[in-house]
């Protein structure tokens, strides 16, 4: 029964690929939606290098709605601010629970993320894991490469074209690989992403920070 609970939890884990921390005092609202699962996240940055996150996951199977929640601490472990680029290393650690018919399973979350970007190119890689008390239940690796078709000014509408490769291994199952081209648009403090994986799954992501 516990294994089924965790498998259910794992089927819809979509960890936000937004910046885990932002400018001091900021609040970030993030959502990721696919055809069968949603992930909502709120981050508050106490400092530009430290944030607290709250996560809600929802999985839809017909009329059945299943949920899990996490609280996380998000850290900026390293940053290089250069004249031409910015490079970052983040770490996230969290704890939470999943519920099904009143039963609860405690789960832990970790993520390591590195990214580098300049005005025109962007590269991101991250490793995510979810564990219960007994064993690790999810290994997920994501790589993103992006480019800006035009370089806009600060007040412009910005566009990025991103290629995302993701490999997920859930419990003892075979790893699953997904490739998704994504269109990113952002204007001031609002960001939208829309993509369709090669297997046909739509992805829609939003971030607002203020």
């Amino acid at each position: 029964m516990n294994r089924l609970l965790v498998l259910w939890l794992l089927t819809f884990i979509e960890i936000s690929l937004a910046h885990p921390t932002s400018f001091k005092g900021s609040t970030g609202l993030m959502s990721q939606t696919t055809s069968k699962r949603d992930h909502y996240q709120v981050n508050y940055s106490h400092e530009y290098y430290l944030a607290t996150g709250a996560h809600l996951y929802q999985d839809r199977e017909g009329d059945d709605m299943r949920r899990a929640g996490f609280l996380s601490s998000n850290f900026l472990l390293f940053r290089e601010n250069s004249q031409r680029f910015q490079a970052n290393l983040y770490g996230i650690i969290g704890a939470g629970s999943s519920e099904l018919s009143g039963e609860k399973e405690t789960a832990g979350l970790y993520r390591i993320q590195a990214d580098i970007e300049d005005r025109k190119y962007y590269f991101l890689i991250n490793q995510t894991g979810i564990s219960t008390k007994k064993q690790r239940e999810l290994d997920q690796r994501t790589i993103r490469l992006g480019t800006a078709p035009y370089v806009g000014n600060f007040e412009d509408l910005h566009m990025w074209l991103i290629a995302e490769w993701q490999e997920s291994r859930r419990f003892a199952s075979k790893p699953r690989t997904e490739f998704t081209p994504i269109l990113r648009l952002f204007y001031q403090n609002v960001l939208l992403e829309i993509g369709r994986s090669v297997s046909g799954d739509m992805k829609f992501n939003t971030i607002i920070h203020f």
Binding site: F23, N153, F154, H158
Partner: protein
Amino acid sequence: MFLKIMAFVWLFCLPFTAYSRTKSTVKVKGMVCAFCAQGVKKGLSKRPEVSRVSVDLDQMLVHIEYKDGKTLPEQTVKTIIESSGFAYVGLNHEKL
């Protein structure tokens, strides 16, 4: 007579001193993304001394225009830049 001349000169110069405003140009490193740099503009814009903030991502500059007779200490500008997650390089003041 002398007093009348001085009064005339003072009244003539008064409009220019009353509307004297300053501007700062701040050099920053790491500011490559407009979405992430919103924190810089927000942090500076909410200061009562500031009338306008503009960001130049190509040159990595932040331009701050102040209200009449106002300015911000360099340390305050540095703190705002660094709390947004960027590296502060330096600042120039000039009169508009």
